[in-house]
């Protein structure tokens, strides 16, 4: 019963932080809102071996597990790094399990992958569904156009989860890149109509775990973002004075920052749960990953708003960093089923279990 990170994991995290610190990712996030280009981090990601984290060693990967991948995403979240790992890592995990021929190139990062993930059946609905183009009703998996596909622009290989959780590999499908509010999040609508799909030999259970893996990864990314927001808010609360006192000495400010710490700690705990379940307890992976996203997603939302109000008016200005994290929170909340679907799944898993 010990959750301490292994030396390798500590190293992986330190290395990730070091690599990312070489880029002005936050400034870039602001400039990208006005058409500026984001730094291309893929080369650095490949050097660091991130693309192959979840691919078996015998196929050129690092053969590591979900928790290791989450550690890297957490560091990306800390600095709003626009590196397309969320889609690539999830896709690579399925490609590896399916014995995909070109998996070495995916592991090396030479070829980038992304996934059209499908929400697996729940205690209430037995179908598999994709993101809707707009509105609340989700659409059945397996159509001609997949909307809001994370990291699709520029991906060479597309893993598509369709009807019944059937998985296929698609190459060369046209992708319409779209930008919504957070310029660091690569998004696209994928036209699958004409594309040729090759079936990938994985089970619907694997397809479902890919969905949960994506939930765990975006949760880790969000936890990293909350960490930065808390540091930002605490630092300002110590240096900013009003009515003769540092604002951090006022309960209204202090208690809000403690609330950020509270959700951050809960989020961190759930990352351990999701990481552990993903590696050693598949039955609990759905509830663990969903709970992690539910807490981390709502936490990020609250943290970004609290950070802005702790800073007062200046926190809501274009030149300030807090709004960039706020933009990240607003968009993430509505991707991959949205934070709400994760909370709903936690309830569904619990209700099914006690029935």
């Amino acid at each position: 019963m010990n959750l301490a990170l292994s030396d390798e994991q500590e190293l992986l995290r330190e290395a990730a932080r070091g690599t990312l610190s070489r880029y002005k990712t936050v400034e870039a996030a602001r400039e990208a809102l006005e058409g500026g280009a984001l730094p291309d981090l893929w080369g650095a990601a490949c050097e660091a071996g991130w693309p192959g984290l979840l691919v078996g060693e015998e196929r050129g990967g690092a053969g590591l597990g979900p928790f290791d991948a989450m550690l890297v995403l957490q560091e990306c979240g800390r600095v709003l790094a626009g590196v397309p790992l969320l889609g690539h890592l999830t896709a690579s995990w399925l490609l590896d399990r399916g014995g995909y021929d070109g998996v070495e190139a995916v592991a090396s990062g030479e070829r980038r992958a992304a996934i059209v993930a499908a929400m697996p059946p729940s205690d209430l609905h037995d179908g598999w569904t994709w993101e809707p183009p707009a509105g609340k009703a989700r659409v059945p998996a397996g159509g001609d156009v997949a909307h809001w596909v994370v990291d699709a622009p520029g991906a060479d290989v597309l893993v598509v989860v369709g009807e019944g959780g059937a998985v296929s590999v698609v190459e060369g499908a046209p992708v319409e890149p779209v930008m919504r509010y957070d310029a660091t999040r690569s998004l696209g609508h994928v036209s699958l109509g004409g594309a040729t799909a090759t079936a990938l030999d994985v089970s619907p259970a694997d397809a479902a775990n890919a969905w949960h893996l994506a939930q765990a990864l975006i949760a880790a990314e969000s936890v990293g973002t909350i960490e930065t927001l808390l540091e930002m808010g605490v630092a300002y609360a110590k240096e900013r004075f009003t009515f003769g006192r540092a604002i951090g000495s006022y309960q209204a400010i202090k208690h809000q920052l403690v609330e950020v710490l509270r959700v951050l700690e809960n989020g961190r705990s759930l990352l351990y749960y999701a990481g552990w379940a993903g590696e050693s307890n598949a039955d609990e992976f759905p509830i663990a990953a969903s709970a992690a996203r539910s807490v981390a997603g709502r936490g990020l939302d609250a943290a970004s708003r609290i950070t802005i109000s702790v800073h007062g008016g200046i926190g809501a200005t274009w030149e300030h960093d807090a709004p960039l994290y706020f933009r990240r929170a607003q968009l993430s909340r509505r991707l991959l089923g949205g934070t709400a679907a994760a909370s709903d799944r936690v309830a569904g898993e619990l209700l099914a279990a006690v029935s």
């Binding site: 809102l33 006005e34 993101e131 809707p132 707009a134 509105g135 609340k136 009703a137 809001w148 779209v178 919504r180 509010y181 998004l187 004075f241 009003t242 009515f243 003769g244 006192r245 540092a246 000495s249 006022y250 209204a252 400010i253 708003r305 802005i308 109000s309 007062g312 008016g313 200046i314 926190g315 809501a316 200005t317 274009w318 030149e319 709004p323 706020f326 933009r327 607003q330 968009l331 909340r333 509505r334 991707l335 949205g338 709400a340």
Partner: protein, 404 residues
């Protein structure tokens, strides 16, 4: 309890409506046509002038300064008829609603005769130069410094922020420190600053949306004549309180002015069959809408108090807290329902989602508003004040000491 007009009020409403029917065609549109901001501004100035001639501006200003000498009820009738006629109101709400009344209350006869007319007719727009980077919530902490010159003139240095309309204002009402060696509320003085005076620089301050809804105003050795002082040297705090009281009044009577109405928020949800039948969506909409609907009647209560001769107190700040938080809940809900498209740069919802976090702090953070209401309305004891009675010039040192 009666929401209908008295015969006198009905007659006044009829006159206002008749005037608007007659002049509606001369009114500019409600919003500036893309790319015609300059021309639109001129049209709005001209329209304010017409409203003033028609007696629809400065309704509560005394007759002797060009106003109508009427009460808040008539002001509300005018507001209602103008919005019913779907024409814009006056351009310079801040000047006519808050700064003019301050000059009327504290200004010299010369100041009144020189400034109030052009202000009322929109020939000269005004801005409020109170807030500073280091003096937001703590307004009495302003550091902008006005030094008296031997010839009785003043030299002004400092920086103001969160200034609306500064980019096209002719004058600003500015709070500056004239004596740093007395406690902070005592050493302040109010000035009239020509915005075209040498040394005045206006820079747009961009918000989350990327648009510059406010300005920063930099003051470098700005020279002001002795007659620029309003309300007397050292009386700046008292003068400022008058402005803030009229600010509350303006908010209290127009809480729906920001356009955060329940029906507007319901529309995009009604358009989604799945959403409108979802119990979570309906609950969230019903709860936030109930709070927004309440504010309509809070405004009537404020109006009732005014008719009873009572000035609304800081509790009107609670209406602002309700508005902002309900609007945040509403736009969150709408984006949850519509999905990422609600966050598209061209979406009115993305704009509101970006605008609201700033609005939360505008005119006092929610924390400060709750402090004020708790102390002034509920009579709860104040926070221990570490700056009481300490000369402003020694404050920072004291601050460091107590939190060391």
């Amino acid at each position: 309890m009666d929401l209908n007009d008295t015969p006198e009020q009905a007659a006044y409403r009829a006159r206002v409506r008749a005037w608007l029917d007659e002049h509606r065609d001369e009114a500019p549109p409600l919003r500036a046509p893309e790319g015609e901001e300059e021309a639109y501004l001129a049209a709005r100035r001209a329209w304010q002038g017409k409203l003033a001639e028609g007696g629809l501006a400065g309704v509560v200003w005394p007759k002797e300064v060009g106003g109508q000498g009427l009460g808040p009820i008539e002001q509300v009738i005018v507001n209602q008829e103008i919005s019913a006629a779907k024409v814009p109101g006056i351009l310079d709400v801040i000047g006519v609603g808050m700064l003019g009344p301050t000059i009327i209350a504290h200004g010299t006869d010369e100041q009144k005769s020189r400034y109030l007319g052009p202000m009322l007719h929109g020939d000269e727009v005004w801005c409020q130069l109170f807030s500073e980077p280091a003096a937001g919530s703590d307004l009495a902490g302003v550091q902008s410094r006005a030094r008296a010159n031997d010839d009785g003139s003043w030299t002004l240095n400092g920086q103001k922020v969160w200034t609306t309309n500064a980019q096209f204002s002719s004058y600003g009402l500015l709070l500056a420190r004239t004596d740093p060696d007395v406690p902070k509320h005592k050493g302040l003085t109010m000035f009239i600053v020509p915005m075209d005076a040498p040394g005045v620089t206006v820079r747009g301050l961009r918000q989350i949306s990327g648009e510059a809804e406010f300005n920063e105003v930099f003051l470098d050795d700005v020279r002001l004549d002795a007659d620029a002082v309003v309300g007397g040297v050292g009386n700046g705090w008292g003068t400022a309180l008058t402005t803030l009281m009229y600010e509350r009044l303006t908010i209290g009577l127009g809480s729906e002015g920001l356009g955060y109405r329940a029906d507007r928020f319901a529309a995009p949800i009604a358009a989604d069959p799945e959403a409108r039948a979802d119990s979570d969506v309906r609950k969230r909409l019903g709860e936030l809408a109930s709070e927004l609907i309440a504010l309509r009647f809070t405004a009537y209560r404020t109006l009732t108090a005014l008719q009873g001769g009572r000035i609304p107190g800081p509790e009107s700040a609670l209406a602002k807290v309700t508005t902002v938080n309900a609007a945040i809940a509403a736009t969150d809900l709408i984006a949850d329902v519509m999905g990422p498209d609600a966050l598209d740069a061209s979406s009115e919802w993305a704009y509101a989602i970006s605008f609201l976090p700033g609005l939360k702090s505008a005119g006092g953070t929610e924390e400060i508003l709750r402090n004020t209401v708790g102390e002034r309305v509920l009579g709860l004891p104040p926070e221990p004040r570490l700056d009481k009675g300490i000369p402003f010039s020694e404050l920072r040192a004291k601050e460091r000491e107590v939190t060391a």
